[in-house]
């Protein structure tokens, strides 16, 4: 107890009476270390979140069901949609028919998937309609009208990633010709252009299922190539899957993670990079704190020798340096956390980094910030302990008279 009291006394006096410039520099370094520890992982986590979110809200929903077997078509689709809507935990359901097609405009051609949708139900599952940047979203009953992704239309936006291979100058109101793989050729007026800032989504085109019905025989009206399910928050996904699979044979399912496709390996790599960056940042933090403590200890070697000579125990002296390191770390972390939360995050939100999958915001994960803070404190303690322990192992006379 006395040791701790003396340690606290020495640490407090050293902090309050020592060189304030050194104190400021040390805390500033810790602020930078902590910001370094949280910034890039938060950015990558934001990118991962963005990819996941865009995948769910524009492409795959939470779950998608398809037919097994040779035919990719699900029959009595409406009956299945209605049944899935009644499953506990299901927020919304929609069916889509994917039609392979080539879209022509003047001399440009773009091969893509055209999806026939029920706009009302689709809007409940996906957010495509919220991303319309020209014209209007589709409505039930629209025939001869098409909604194009920005990467398909081009829309004279040369900054688009796929502008070179797009239709380049198509705008809302333009007329395009579509050659479906079944040989049907149709002319469409572009009702709207959407831009989700997610390349995989923005290369798609949408027509209404009413339009599809004008192209296929009546026995193919109640079909779908995929049924998309949006779940309520916190729902046990596997339970929903089991209930849906039990409704009908010949169904297979994909989760939104499965639907990530090539992005899955990218997000996995991002997660690995986050771990590597965190470890690297912690090593940098450890070395920084070690150097600060070591330099301080070298300068105070004689003082430590005197303290030991007058009877202050080694444990008190080591504890005083550990306490100082904790205080440095606490102030550094607190200041850095405030800077990160109230300065860095808002500024980044106003000027976000742009990726092919959209603007990326920093993902503030509070438990992650707290764990980083504790890890940094631990690193600070270890970095203070090692040189302090080495110093108190020096002979008193060497500490006092060799300085």
């Amino acid at each position: 107890m006395n040791s701790l009291k003396v340690a606290a006394f020495l640490a407090f006096k050293s902090l309050t009476r020592g060189d304030w410039r050194v104190l400021l520099l040390t805390i500033s370094m810790l602020i930078l270390v902590y910001l370094n520890l949280v910034f890039t992982p938060a950015l990558l986590a934001g990118a991962v979140q963005n990819i996941n979110n865009k995948t769910r809200t524009t492409m795959s929903a939470d779950l998608l069901f398809q037919a097994t077997g040779e035919s990719p078509v699900l029959f009595q689709a409406q009956e299945l949609v209605d049944a899935i809507e009644n499953v506990d935990g299901v927020a919304a359901v929609c069916a889509r028919n994917n039609l392979g097609a080539e879209i022509h405009y003047e001399s440009e051609t773009f091969a893509t998937g055209v999806y026939a949708i029920d706009p009302e139900k689709d809007d409940q599952v996906f957010q495509i309609h919220e991303a319309v940047i020209e014209g209007e979203p589709l409505e039930p009953g629209d025939v001869g009208q098409i909604l194009l992704g920005a990467q398909v239309a081009g829309a004279e936006r040369e900054d688009l990633e796929l502008y070179a291979s797009s239709l380049k100058t198509v705008h809302a109101g333009s007329t395009v010709v579509i050659d479906y793989v079944n040989g049907v050729e149709r002319e469409y007026t572009v009702k709207g252009i959407f831009f989700t800032e997610f390349v995989q989504s923005d290369i798609r085109a949408y027509i209404t299922e009413d339009d599809l019905h004008t192209m296929v025989p009546p026995q193919l009206h109640d079909t779908a190539t995929s049924i998309y399910v949006k779940l309520e928050k916190g729902v046990d996904r596997s339970q929903v899957v089991n209930e849906v699979l039990a409704m009908r044979s010949g169904l297979k399912y994909q989760t939104w993670e499965d639907a990530l496709g090539v992005l899955k390996s990218m997000t996995k790599s991002f997660d690995q990079i986050i771990v590597i960056l965190r470890v690297t940042a912690l090593i940098v933090a450890a070395i920084t704190i070690f150097i600060v403590t070591y330099v301080d200890l070298v300068n105070k070697r004689r003082q430590i020798g005197i303290e030991r000579a007058i009877g202050i125990t080694s444990s008190s002296i080591v504890a005083s340096y550990i306490l100082r390191a904790i205080i440095y770390a606490a102030f550094g972390i607190l200041a850095a956390a405030l800077i990160f939360r109230y300065i860095v995050v808002p500024i980044e939100a106003q000027h976000p980094f742009h990726f092919p999958f959209g603007d990326v915001m920093l993902a503030v994960d509070v438990p992650e910030l707290v764990s980083s803070a504790f890890i940094l404190c631990g690193v600070a303690i270890a970095s203070a302990f090692v040189p302090a322990y080495q110093t108190i192992r020096t002979k008193i006379i060497d500490a006092i008279w060799s300085s």
């Binding site: 040791s3 020592g18 202050i312 125990t313 080694s314």
Partner: protein, 224 residues
């Protein structure tokens, strides 16, 4: 009270061995004022550091009240320094970030008890060494003589039985030296503290009741 038997201290400076103390044996009685003299390199400071438990001898034994303290652990030696001994360094050796008052009561805190009591006693001790008005000054704001008197007050905070002073006046002017030495004599006379001090100044003989003269790490003369 304190005795040493066949005390030898060898310093290794690279491949060279320097025998600072050679087979030294002596005894110090309680309540006396002893001056250890000798030329530079004679081993007087080395002897004081062994007696003050700041360094460990290469061989030989040190006894306090008949108890062999030579091989005590670092923790036990720290405890002895805290409770039994006071040590005054030639270079004052105060902690620069602390005031005179804090420098004095810090070792008291290590012993335990109420900090308030140590603070109060530190004020009394500083007053006793004539620094009652300067307790809140930091070492750099004090003269050499004043710093040495703060060091004396600090050495007294835990009521030591023996006070070791390693050339306490080496860095002081004549007037300050006289004040410091008179302070030590006063402590011996009024509190009965055993004083052992090192000096190279022949004039300092006058303060001592006993003089030990060292040469090449050996005791060559003794005057009572």
């Amino acid at each position: 009270m304190i005795s040493v038997s066949n005390l030898t201290k060898v310093y290794k400076l690279g491949s060279v061995e320097v025998r600072a103390l050679v087979d030294l044996s002596l005894a110090l009685e309680a309540g006396g004022v002893t001056c250890v003299m000798g030329k530079s390199g004679s081993g007087k400071s080395t002897l004081l550091r062994q007696l003050g438990l700041i360094d460990r001898p290469t061989s030989g034994q040190i006894f306090f009240d008949g108890e062999d303290v030579t091989r005590l652990s670092d923790g036990a030696r720290a405890r002895m320094r805290l409770t039994y001994l006071g040590y005054i360094f030639q270079e004052f050796a105060l902690l620069g970030e602390l005031t005179a008052h804090e420098n004095v009561y810090l070792p008291g805190m290590m012993l335990g008890g109420k900090t308030h009591d140590h603070r109060k006693r530190a004020v009394e001790l500083l007053a006793m060494v004539g620094l009652g008005e300067r307790i809140h000054h930091k070492p750099k704001e004090l003269s050499g003589g004043e710093q040495q008197r703060v060091a004396i007050a600090r050495a007294l905070i835990n009521n030591p039985r023996v006070l070791f002073a390693d050339e306490p006046c080496a860095n002081l002017d004549t007037i300050s030296s006289e004040v410091v030495m008179q302070t030590l004599l006063k402590l011996n006379k009024e509190l009965g503290i055993t004083i052992v001090f090192v000096s190279h100044d022949p004039d300092d003989k006058k303060y001592a009741g006993r003089l030990i003269y060292l040469k090449d790490g050996k005791q060559v003369e003794e005057y009572l």
